[in-house]
């Protein structure tokens, strides 16, 4: 049980690099893994770690996100002695503002945290795929008497410049931090999961709020400021599966990772469940003409064609003679007969007409398709044919 600790979940991100996937949809609400949304992993971590109070800070296009998390019932976060609270930006008599950066979002909710009078505050975000026991992070934080503990993981060197990179002493104490460095000197990346001693963080948030030159960001401002003052900051080494699904490529990869047999991240792990807001729909129907291998298929699907290495969300229909390969099909997608799809991500309720062929090669980024872009693709396909026959 994680006591004396309030979880603050940053769920307002626009997720620009996810392109069409986050059109009118907050990044944490993007469908993931056949029936989940990205935020389910963090929320489930909170429940599985025994967090009692979680504040979810929403901002960008929150309709779908709010509808999804509802009152937190699906995660058991609607209990009398523990609860989830949605914290949206607001105005009051003397003004108010949108959340201007991650640190500002926490600062604007200082009163919410103070209500629970915690010793520690856990800052997490709703756009990473991983299963972590925050209790262990808190244990280490207490043991080292740290002001801040940052969860870290080694990443591939060529990706290191996408992350906040840490340098630590042998005992794990952080002595240097570089946010998205051009030439990283280490590959130890911050996972964006921070445990703070609330009293210390609060004073830094106040200082930061008064600094008009600050971008009010944990990575850019708060962490460097704390380091500058020689606060006790330690790295927490995480060894499990973790993926920042910030780009279409990494989103697609993380989905494909779920198909892996020996992955540390398992949806079937009974001791560490991933919860989601589940709908009441019938089990999938696999027709005589179907072939399904190496895939995740959710309830309500009706499969008559061939599906390989793919993730199908609820109520997806695949017509006879169609082949779906290395693709992700969001809820309600209908694929007509004799369609070929390879390395594509099809958005909710898109109808793909019979005979369509869309195949993206392995060296390109997977293509995100919705009804609108499909018309565009079709138009170019038809034009190609016209040119061919003219």
């Amino acid at each position: 049980m994680v006591k004396n600790c309030v979880g603050m979940l940053l769920a307002g991100g626009e997720g620009k690099r996810l392109g069409a996937l986050t059109k009118n949809l907050a990044k944490p609400a993007v469908p993931f893994g056949g029936k989940y949304r990205i935020i389910d992993f963090t929320l489930s971590n909170c429940v599985n770690s025994g967090m009692q109070h979680v504040g979810v800070m929403t901002q960008y296009s929150p309709l779908e996100l709010n509808r999804h998390i509802g009152n937190g019932e699906a995660w058991d976060l609607n209990r009398m002695d523990g609860a989830m609270t949605v914290l949206s930006p607001y105005t009051e008599r003397n003004g108010g503002d949108w959340y201007n950066g991650t640190a500002d979002a926490i600062y604007q909710n200082t009163h919410f945290i103070d209500e629970h009078d915690p010793e520690y505050v856990l800052v997490i975000s709703g756009d990473h795929i991983y299963q972590m026991d925050y209790g262990q992070l808190l244990e280490q934080h207490k043991r080292t008497g740290a002001d801040a503990t940052i969860s870290v993981m080694p990443v591939a060197w060529e990706e290191a410049s996408r992350f906040g990179i840490l340098h630590t002493l042998d005992n794990g104490r952080i002595y240097e931090f570089a946010e998205k460095p051009e030439h990283p000197k280490s590959n130890l990346a911050s996972m964006g999961i921070y445990m703070f001693t609330w009293k210390v963080l609060k004073s830094y948030l106040q200082q930061d709020a008064n600094n008009e030159y600050s971008s009010h960001d944990f990575g850019k401002d708060i962490i460097p400021a704390m380091l500058g003052d020689e606060c006790h900051m330690y790295a927490y080494q995480f060894t499990g599966y973790w993926k920042d699904v910030g780009t279409v490529q990494s989103y697609w990869e993380a989905n494909m990772d779920l198909l892996d047999e020996d992955l540390q991240l398992s949806l079937n792990n009974k001791n560490r469940r991933v919860y989601s807001n589940e709908s009441n729909i019938p089990p999938e129907y696999i027709d005589e003409t179907a072939e399904v291998t190496y895939s995740l298929i959710n309830s309500g699907c009706w499969i008559c064609g061939k599906v390989d290495s793919s993730v199908l969300f609820e109520n997806v229909k695949i017509g006879k003679g169609s082949k779906v390969c290395r693709s992700i099909l969001h809820p309600g997608v209908t694929v007509g007969e004799n369609v070929t799809l390879e390395r594509v991500i099809v958005k909710e309720n898109t109808e793909i007409p019979a005979g369509t062929h869309i195949s993206i090669s392995a060296d390109e980024e997977p293509l995100v398709i919705d009804q609108h872009s499909l018309e565009h693709i079709e138009a170019t396909l038809e034009k190609d044919e016209e040119e061919l026959y003219s």
């Binding site: 029936k35 989601s276 019938p282 129907y285 027709d287 291998t293």
Partner: protein, 368 residues
């Protein structure tokens, strides 16, 4: 606006389920991958805008209470009204009622406090996806005391033997309820009755030491009551034995039947679980089957119904079988015409083969 209140009476149901009801009530027998029989009458009532539903349950009600909870998953979890599970727990020494009349007698409050003047009564063994709006309108317009919902069965067989057949005149007024085996117009066990009449018949039956509300209260009084019929169209099946359970599960593998029962709005609802999507591994071969979430399949599955969380290992074959929740089937196993109840583990290289007429049934929690 007139409304109906609901009653699911499990008091006098036919039970030929053997192993499947050792540990549970007949109404909670799992069906079609993730449902239980009770889900059908409950969803149909809710879809008929019935907002108060009582369930008379004579025994083994733990599984029923566990499954239904507060009724929220069916949309009947209300602060006022909603779902009432009414087990038999009464110790009135002066009570002389017998049979299911004890339920009516001891739960008079439910009917008296209810806001509706009409009651929709159902059992749990008629499987269909419908709403009773039209039947209710017809009931009100005809001025009938009771409206019996009927179904027309094209292919009559053994499971229908115990069902009442209806003889009605051209206008649909019921003349007789028989056991005439040639008559294909069957009573579904679902009927609409005026609440005042229900209470009156209850008193009358108890006074005459009767023990079966429908048989003694309605059937025996056909001459004095205005009883009408209303036909339920579309998919309908009676499930009251191992054989009919097996056959109707496998009938759903006919795409048209499955579509008619589950892909027609309003949907049948059930208790919400939290299982990941089914995982089909590298060597999985699945044909003509219904697969629920949480399954992990790397063997061969054909013509079968797999409930939630079933695991079929590589090299195992499951054919024309019904595998309930969380069963594990190890490699080299061959199952054909088999029903495995929940949590059965079939260890490597075994063969279990039943016949279409007599499927091989394994009770809950066994390791083979």
């Amino acid at each position: 606006m007139e409304t109906m209140m609901g009653l699911i009476n499990l008091g006098h149901e036919h039970h030929f389920f053997h192993e499947l009801t050792y540990f549970r009530n007949g109404a909670t027998i799992p069906f079609a991958g993730k449902y239980r029989l009770i889900d059908f009458p409950l969803s149909n009532m809710r879809n008929s805008d019935v907002e108060e539903i009582a369930i008379f349950v004579p025994n083994k009600y733990r599984s029923l209470m566990d499954h239904l909870g507060s009724g929220g998953d069916w949309g009947v979890g209300r602060r006022h009204g909603g779902l009432f599970i009414l087990p038999p727990d009464w110790n009135d020494p002066s009570d002389i009622s017998k049979g299911d009349l004890r339920f009516f007698h001891n739960n008079r409050d439910y009917f008296e406090r209810g806001k509706s003047s009409y009651v929709l009564v159902s059992g749990s063994q008629f499987i269909t996806n419908t709403d009773y709006h039209d039947a209710f309108i017809a009931h009100l317009q005809s001025g009938a005391d009771v409206t019996l919902i009927t179904t027309n069965i094209e292919e009559l067989n053994k499971e229908h033997d115990s069902r009442f057949r209806i003889e009605a005149d051209a206008d649909g007024w019921v003349k007789d309820l028989t056991n005439d085996k040639q008559n294909s117009k069957l009573f579904t066990g679902v009927y609409i009755i005026n609440k005042a009449l229900l209470l009156e018949l209850t008193d009358q039956c108890i006074a005459h030491h009767k023990d079966h509300f429908f048989v003694h209260g309605i059937k025996d009084n056909l001459q004095d009551l205005k009883v009408k019929t209303f036909e339920n169209k579309g998919y309908g099946a009676f499930v009251d034995s191992i054989e009919s359970f097996y056959r109707h599960n496998l009938n759903l593998l006919q795409a048209d039947n499955y579509r008619a029962l589950f892909y027609k709005k309003p949907f049948i609802r059930t208790k919400i679980g939290n299982e990941p999507p089914a995982k089909y591994r590298q060597h999985a071969q699945v044909k003509k089957s219904i697969v629920a979430n949480g399954c992990v399949i790397e063997g061969n599955v054909e013509g079968s119904v797999l409930f939630r969380g079933v695991s079929v290992t590589e090299g195992a074959t499951v054919k024309d079988s019904i595998i309930m929740q969380r069963c594990t089937i190890d490699s080299g196993v061959h199952l054909e015409n088999v029903i495995l109840d929940k949590d059965v583990h079939v260890t490597a290289n075994q063969q279990l083969i039943g016949s279409k007429e007599k499927p091989y049934v394994i009770a809950k929690n066994r390791v083979l």
